[in-house]
Assembly symmetry: D2
Homo-oligomer: 307 residues x 4
């Protein structure tokens, strides 16, 4: 018996340059498309009559980048998802996943005109390198689900974090901590309320930037008694401030920074004075939770943000 | 509002050596534990009273490896999951994910006795390096769910693969292929029927080895008209032959090997003669599907095997 | 016969927090130490009498971070290298390699005082994420060699790059390009002239920041007829402007961005209008060269920056 | 001033299928070519007259795979290196680096004939997954240098390893070990004596297989008092047994497996009984050395095998 199935092209690496005279703009995406529908025959008998080749999916990504441009990752995903579902009778559902890589302009030197005959160069970029922005757009011909997010935003508080008063059993040896380093890689996915063509469309880029800022600020401004508490504050800050977001899921590895024992060398190493830490790789704590708007239904899959 | 949440220790790298005289045995696991339960207070107020530290989880993994040994990844996961749910009142659900790395014995030289005073060395190993074996054990105090699998088993057929007769639209440029290379990294997860302590427990290692063999053989022995067909044959072969398995999900990237155009250099490059291919990285097709036993309910999450 | 040999501890992940009241500072290093000297006995007979354990090397890294602080990666490497060579008679040469990860402060919200009782939080950081800064300090008891650098700084020019007039042979099919995207990951290593304790020590952080800026600006401000030309301009800009640097080696992968052929879909895709590119992974061109100050001797190994 | 420079195409992923009736053979290489010569003009002025495009280099790799086949990585590298140096006047030196990935045949099922109409399938492969074989061929128009090797062969001895009697200083806390786990990833590069066309050419595949076996056996059969001793035994075993090899360099990370302290839980954890270890990631010891044949000159660069 054939169960859930999907197919498509993964990791189409499309870069779009737009020019306004000498000023260039850059969009740099990694696009993966998964299509579902009437696919019994191809699985059971190898009949490809209903299968639009994944090579065609790839071509479509590049053609759409030129025909429609890339206003935002989310908008680009909407164009693509609608296209596949509405143009191929056999395809009833499309899911478009996009990673976006940010670029910043290179600030040119005072002597730029000497080198390039212009006061500034407006076509040179350096990759921002911090988090990867993500968007997932799903469409079944009737309704939309847009889950945006970010991966790999690494943050650290060097104080205002404690951990004590926890449950203990036979295997507990951990000492309570009253001033520890708290560090994590933020993996976040948030779901927009927007679900059908009639509703007003969120301003995707603004929503992204503000959500990102709220996550950073809530991390910095929470006096933390546990990473769970910090996580909940981060999620709640987004839900409280961004009306277009109904649900957010956070997956936060506890990137342990252990105070090094320097006593054998006659040295004190106390957090209160500034201290030396060992940044451990594995194992790591892993804290995951969804924060929801009152009345919203949880829809972001647990495994979407899990490592 | 707080939604689904879980926490625990990820990537505990435990290696267990067992000795039978001079003959040693090795188990090499990467264990991740996720616990759920009554965790509202820690998220909302930072009260850790219900939180068994992730450091304790890590200690437990190592202590259990010594106290109970590691009969198999699945059995070890069952011990751990049961322990957390039954010993901590606040914890109502445990999910243990394990990666297992295989090792083979190093065959010693004819002169071994000259070097080590024994005909053979029985404590030397080389890592097998092929697929990673995986196991996921979930327990809620009543029933069990065991999903085993493998990741990263790379296979290639150099013939017996075609792709033609597919749907075409404005963006289709792909040429039909009647003799192509078919290659993929097999990512598989299969769910055992076993769900409660009263039922007979599968022989985990045998089930793993046989399932792996069926996947390889079905890949090799399918004359393929599309990767979907090959996938279904692989899944069906497992369901048909392994009664303890109710469901299997496969995620198969189509690792494209493109016939290189050598005509500009006056060379022919035809599959039928043996040919030269370019092994591409991205983009790649991605084919995912679940194959189920008649009457079984689909339970393996779509995102579990997705990249 | 035993040839060149060295041993030590690699990848000591040391994080140092310094506090000035509520304002914290962060240094985040990955330190690898390689020691050489009179090591014949340990290789031939397993006598460890001359071997300071690598565990001790690790301890020393953490102890020095506390005792002496981390003024810069280079200065920290100098402290360590001098220590091993001068304190262990058997050790005659030390090479310390350091990677440094940059962090920026998180800008706190207007409401910070409501959350943390202060106008701003001065202990919260987000990792910068762009290039990794590197330093390599070598000491043999007499002289110093300091090679600093950076890895993984990704840059792109969306115009002002051409490639034509090249050599052609039987296997040449490439079309000439008069307006192409030029992108690379900058891997640079530069050697300071400073070589002995008597000479004035460079201002390591300033030298790093300025060199980095020159590399970026030279990349942006060069109208490029080949990546080799751009590389040479980048190197020459550093040599011309930073007197403390005698030599620089650059390893620049040509991260190809290919103009997609959209003609089959009735679309034009011309660079001059802004265009759509496919960002390829492999293969890639790789351009490597050393640029030297007149009279300087080449000392940066060819393989240091090679992938 | 322009110093050492080289350019070329990196990571050409060429797969060659050869057919003998229904029996297929597979060669899977990753080829990188670096060319040097009269390249001043392209660096200084952007004149590409002496620059064979890296795209042509890529084409040549694929064309040669068809025209000349791939007898071995080394032989293929010799063909390529000779071609570039002898066919392009401006190019005076070529260095070809190759990674080779091994594949094994999939053993087909007893029922193969039912599925494919043949007793066995001879065109199905599974990637071996252990070490990567490497070859580096350099040619300057007169002489050859061939450095072969392997990367990422992971081995472990669960006993017959001690570490004690080492130097101690103020920062030493390590306890002596009389029965420890010794594990490493073998990175080896060995240089063949063969240097000119008149000399008899080594049997590259045999030499590789035997050298690999000697490395494994020497690792298994050495009672180790330090990893340096094991390294030297591995190198010496190759030099003693393979006359065609003049020099070998080994880079061996000490993949620490720490005995876990289970005393707090009332458990003993002693190596002699079989024990539980924590497999650490970082930091790790790193032992590197060259072993030479009497009279040979050291030529493998120190940085070639360094991480």
């Amino acid at each position: 018996m054939l169960g859930q199935n999907q197919y498509g092209k993964a990791e189409c690496r499309v870069v779009k340059v737009s020019r306004e005279g000498a000023t260039h703009h850059l969009k740099d995406l990694n696009v993966s498309v998964a299509l579902s529908g009437d696919m019994t025959d191809v699985h059971r008998e190898g009949s490809n009559a209903n299968v639009l080749p994944t090579d065609t999916v790839n071509n479509t990504v590049f053609a759409f980048a030129q025909e429609r441009g890339i206003a935002s990752a989310e908008q680009f995903g909407i164009h693509l998802a609608r296209h596949f579902v509405t143009s191929q009778e056999a395809i009833t559902r499309a899911r478009v996943r996009i990673e976006e890589y940010a670029w910043q302009r290179i600030e040119t030197s005072d002597d730029a005109s000497r080198f390039v005959g212009a006061d500034a160069v407006r076509h040179s970029f350096v990759r921002a390198g911090q988090e990867v922005r993500t968007a997932q757009v799903s469409y079944d011909g009737r309704g939309w689900e847009v889950i945006s997010g970010l991966s790999g935003l690494t943050v650290l508080n060097s104080t205002n974090s404690e951990f004590w008063g926890y449950a203990k059993d036979r295997y507990t040896t951990l000492k309570e901590a009253y001033d520890r380093v708290l560090a994590t890689d933020v993996h976040a996915r948030w779901r927009y309320r927007w679900a059908s063509d009639g509703e007003p469309v969120p301003r995707w880029d603004t929503a992204y930037e503000r959500t990102r800022t709220h996550l950073l600020q809530a991390f910095a401004e929470t006096y933390s008694l546990s990473l769970q508490q910090t996580l909940f504050q981060m999620g709640a800050r987004v839900i409280d401030n961004r009306q277009e977001v109904d649900e957010i899921r956070l997956s936060l590895p506890n990137k342990h920074h252990f105070l090094v024992d320097l006593e054998p060398f006659g040295l004190t190493n106390a957090s209160a004075d500034g201290a030396v830490y060992y940044a451990a790789d594995r194992p790591y704590g892993l804290i995951e939770a969804t924060v929801l708007r009152e009345g919203a239904t949880q829809a972001i899959p647990t495994d979407l943000t899990s490592p």
